[in-house]
C-alpha cells in the first residue's frame, strides 16, 4: 500500500523545463491544426500507406505486360490488357454473370431481412428476440471457408438437400449458379439483417398504430411506412452484400460447378498473368463506384 508512504513530491516538481519550450499539451492546445494532425496521423498512414497505396500498385500493374513464355511481369505502359478485356467476350459474360449474382444476393437478403427485422423488433418476445439475434450472428463466428464447405456438403448429390427433397420427387440445384447465389446469401445475410433489425427497432410504435388507425393493412404499412424508413439501413446492408458478392471466388469454386465469376478469373490469372488480373479487377471497382454513386444520388447516404 502506498498510502503509508508520505508524499514528498507534488506534480511538476522535479521536471526541468528548458527555457523557451512549452509543454506539449500547451502547444497542442494553442494549435488546432497540430492537434488534428496528431489525431489523424495514424489512421491516415494506415489508409494511405496500406490501403490506397496497395490499390494504386495493383492498378498500375494493369498497364504492365507479361512475357508470354516465362509469365514474368514486365513494367511498362500498355493498354493491351484492357483491349483484351473488351475483345474476349468471356470477360464481359463473366462480369455480367457476377453482377447478376451480386444483385440477386442483395435482393434475397433484403426480402428475408425485412420480415425478420419486423418480427424480431415488434412481435417477438425479448427472449425470442435475443435468441434470433444470436442465431443470425452465429454463422459469423465460423470460418468463411468452413461455411462454404458446409454448403458444399449440403448440396452434394447425396447430400442433405437432395435427400430432404427426395420424398417430394424433387432434386436440388446441385452445384450451379443457383447454389452460388444461395451460398452467398447465407454468407452475407447477417450484414443485411443486423442494420435492418436495428432500424426497425428505432421506428416508433405509434407509427404502426397510426397506420392501422388510418385503415392500412400490414402489407400497406410495410410498403408505405416501414420500407421508406428502412432505406438507409437497406442501403448500408446492400453495400456489404453487393460488394462482398462481387469479389467472392471461393463460393464459385466450391459450389459453383462450372460457374465462373470475376473473382475466379482473377484468382486463376494471379500467378499466370498478374497484369490482366489487375486490369480485370477494375471491373468490380467500377461496379461498386457506380452503385455508390447511384445511392448517393438518392440522398440516402446523407442520412446514414
Amino acid at each position: 500500500m502506498t498510502s503509508t508512504v508520505p508524499r514528498v513530491t507534488t506534480p511538476g516538481q522535479g521536471r526541468v523545463q528548458p527555457a523557451g519550450r512549452k509543454p506539449l499539451s500547451t502547444r497542442l492546445h494553442r494549435s488546432p491544426r497540430l492537434r488534428l494532425l496528431g489525431l489523424l496521423a495514424l489512421p491516415l498512414t494506415w489508409l494511405v500507406g496500406v490501403y490506397i497505396f496497395s490499390l494504386v500498385m495493383l492498378l498500375v500493374t494493369a498497364f504492365w505486360r507479361t512475357d508470354p513464355f516465362t509469365s514474368k511481369v514486365i513494367p511498362g505502359f500498355t493498354l493491351d490488357n484492357f483491349v483484351r478485356l473488351v475483345e474476349n467476350p468471356a470477360y464481359l459474360s463473366t462480369s455480367l454473370r457476377t453482377l447478376s449474382i451480386a444483385l440477386l444476393v442483395t435482393l434475397l437478403s433484403v426480402m428475408f431481412s425485412i420480415p425478420l427485422g419486423i418480427f424480431m423488433a415488434k412481435v417477438a418476445s425479448p427472449w425470442l428476440r435475443a435468441f434470433l439475434a444470436v442465431a443470425i450472428t452465429l454463422p459469423l463466428w465460423a470460418g468463411y471457408l468452413v461455411k462454404i464447405l458446409a454448403m458444399r456438403i449440403t448440396f452434394t448429390e447425396n447430400g442433405f438437400f437432395n435427400s430432404a427433397l427426395e420424398p417430394l420427387g424433387l432434386s436440388g440445384p446441385g452445384f450451379s449458379y443457383t447454389t452460388v447465389v444461395l451460398t452467398l446469401t447465407y454468407l452475407w445475410f447477417p450484414y443485411m439483417a443486423l442494420p435492418v433489425y436495428t432500424a426497425v427497432r428505432q421506428i416508433p410504435a405509434n407509427l404502426f398504430d397510426a397506420s392501422a388507425d388510418l385503415g392500412a393493412r400490414s402489407w400497406t404499412t410495410i410498403r408505405t411506412v416501414v420500407v421508406p424508413l428502412l432505406k438507409p439501413a437497406l442501403i448500408a446492408g446492400s453495400i456489404f452484400t453487393f460488394s462482398l458478392s462481387l469479389g467472392d471466388y471461393l463460393a464459385a469454386k466450391f459450389v459453383g460447378g462450372s460457374t465462373q465469376m470475376i473473382g475466379s478469373v482473377i484468382a486463376s490469372n494471379i500467378n499466370l498473368n498478374p497484369p490482366i488480373a489487375a486490369a480485370f479487377s477494375v471491373v468490380p471497382i467500377v461496379f461498386v463506384l457506380v452503385y455508390l454513386f447511384a445511392v448517393r444520388k438518392t440522398g440516402a447516404l446523407d442520412r446514414m
Binding site: 512475357d67 513464355f69 516465362t70 509469365s71 514474368k72 467476350p89 468471356a90 456438403i153 462450372s258 486463376s268
Partner: protein
C-alpha cells in the same frame, strides 16, 4: 519413349528460336546482368562445380507429400541441413514462389520447369555432384524436353504419373476404354462428369482429338496451332455443357466423387486411393493421356546450394525416392527402388514404374511455346498465354 527422344533435336532448335524470338520483344529492362532474363542461353546461369561446406539449412518449394519428416529428419541428421518446406498447390504458384528468390529448391512439373529455365530462375545441374542420379533412373525420365535444354540438365527426376480416367463402378458398370465418356455430348453420364480446372487441361482435349479427328493433324498436344487450339476449345465448350463441376482442389475432387456429384472424369491415382473406396476404379484409356513428371530444380540465386545438392542426391537414392513415390502415389524415378522389397515391387508394378510402353501413351505436361515442339516450322504454335486466354472462354 521413342517419339519423345526424336523431339529432342527439334526442341533444341526451338530453344534457340525462343532465344532469338524473345530477345526481339524489347525487354531491355532485364539487361545482361540478370541471370538470363528471357534468354535461355545456358551459360548465363553458372553451374555449381564442386560441393562446399553445408550451409545448415535448405528452403524447398514442393508438392504436398514430397518433403516429409519421415525422410527429411534423417537428412538433417546426416548433413546438418535443416529442411524448411513450403507446400505449393499449383505449378503457377511454384513459379511465382521461386521468383521471390527465397527458395533453394523446387519440385517442378514439366509445365513449370520450362518457364523457370527460360526465365533464368533455375541453374543447370552438375550431375557429377549427384551420384545417386545415374543409370538407375528410369529411361523415360532421362533427358526429357521439359528439363533438358541445349544438352544441359536442369532437373533431377523425382517421379511421374498419368492423369487417369476415374469412374464409379457402381454407376459406370461397363469399364470405359475411351475418353469418349467425358467428351462426347451424348455421353450416358452427362451432368456427372468432372473436369480439371486449369489451362493445361486443353492438352487433354488435344489428346482426344489426336485419335478422333486425325484430320486436324495434331501430333503433340502441347504444340497446337491456332486452328488446332480452336478445335480443342470447341471440344471443351461441348464438355462444359455436360460437366457437373471442375476441380483444381484435390479435396473438392475427392468429395465430388464420394458425394455422388461426379461419377466419371479425370483424376490422379493418389486421389483415387484417397477415396478409400474400392468402387472407384481407374483406367488409362486407349487414346492415351496427359501426365506429369516432376524434377528437383535448384534456384539460380540459391542461398544454400550445397544443402540443395545434398538434398537432391539424398532424395534420389532408391530408398528415399521410393518413399516419396509411395507417399505421393506415383512411379518413382529411381528404378532400383523396385528391387528393394516385395512391397516396392508391387508399388512399381501398380504405377508402371519401368513400363515405358505404358508411358509411351502419356504426354507429360510441358509449357506450350510459340515454336512448335513437334518439329513443325511452317506454322506458329499457340503459347501458354493464348491457352490461358482461351481457357476463359470455355466456362463462359
Amino acid at each position: 519413349m521413342k517419339k519423345k527422344y526424336m523431339l529432342l533435336p527439334a526442341m533444341m532448335a526451338a530453344a534457340t528460336l525462343v532465344l532469338v524470338g524473345c530477345s526481339g520483344t524489347g525487354d531491355t529492362e532485364n539487361g545482361d546482368t540478370s541471370a538470363g532474363g528471357l534468354s535461355i542461353d545456358v551459360p548465363d546461369v553458372p553451374m555449381m562445380d564442386k560441393l562446399d561446406k553445408a550451409e545448415g539449412e535448405v528452403n524447398i518449394v514442393a508438392w504436398s507429400g514430397f518433403v516429409e519428416p519421415a525422410w527429411s529428419d534423417q537428412f538433417t541428421a546426416e548433413t546438418g541441413c535443416v529442411v524448411n518446406r513450403r507446400v505449393a498447390g499449383t505449378s503457377d504458384e511454384m513459379v511465382t514462389l521461386m521468383r521471390t528468390g527465397d527458395y533453394d529448391l523446387v519440385s517442378a512439373s514439366g509445365d513449370a520447369s520450362l518457364r523457370l529455365i527460360a526465365g533464368g530462375d533455375v541453374a543447370p545441374i552438375n550431375i557429377d555432384l549427384i551420384p545417386n542420379f545415374g543409370d538407375d533412373t528410369v529411361k523415360g525420365m532421362q533427358g526429357q524436353i521439359y528439363d533438358t535444354i541445349n544438352g544441359k540438365s536442369y532437373g533431377v527426376p523425382i517421379g511421374r504419373g498419368a492423369n487417369i480416367l476415374q469412374y464409379n463402378s457402381e454407376i459406370v458398370t461397363e469399364a470405359p476404354t475411351s475418353w469418349d465418356v467425358v467428351w462426347e455430348e451424348d455421353s450416358p453420364y452427362a451432368g456427372e462428369i468432372i473436369a480439371y480446372d486449369a489451362p493445361i487441361y486443353i492438352a487433354d482435349a488435344a489428346v482426344y482429338l489426336m485419335t478422333h479427328e486425325p484430320d486436324l493433324g495434331i501430333t503433340n498436344p502441347y504444340a497446337l496451332d491456332q486452328k488446332q487450339l480452336d478445335a480443342a476449345i470447341e471440344l471443351l465448350k461441348t464438355q462444359n455443357g455436360i460437366v457437373s463441376e471442375y476441380w483444381a482442389d484435390p479435396v473438392a475432387q475427392i468429395t465430388s466423387y464420394a458425394g455422388g456429384t461426379s461419377v466419371v472424369g479425370t483424376s490422379w491415382e493418389i486421389l483415387r486411393k484417397l477415396t478409400e473406396d474400392e468402387k472407384f476404379k481407374s483406367v488409362l484409356p486407349e487414346e492415351g493421356s496427359t501426365g506429369w513428371a516432376d524434377a528437383w530444380m535448384i534456384s539460380a540465386e540459391a542461398k544454400n546450394p550445397n544443402c540443395g545438392y545434398l538434398w537432391m542426391d539424398y532424395t534420389s537414392s532408391a530408398e528415399v525416392n521410393g518413399a516419396i513415390a509411395m507417399g505421393f502415389g506415383m512411379a518413382p524415378a529411381n528404378g532400383a527402388f523396385c528391387e528393394t522389397s516385395d512391397e516396392a515391387a508391387a508399388h512399381c508394378e501398380y504405377f508402371h514404374a519401368t513400363d515405358e510402353e505404358y508411358f509411351e501413351n502419356v504426354w507429360f505436361w510441358t509449357t506450350p511455346l510459340e515454336q512448335c515442339i513437334d518439329g513443325r516450322t511452317d506454322v506458329t504454335c499457340t503459347n501458354f498465354q493464348q491457352w490461358t486466354d482461351a481457357w476463359l472462354t470455355v466456362k463462359s
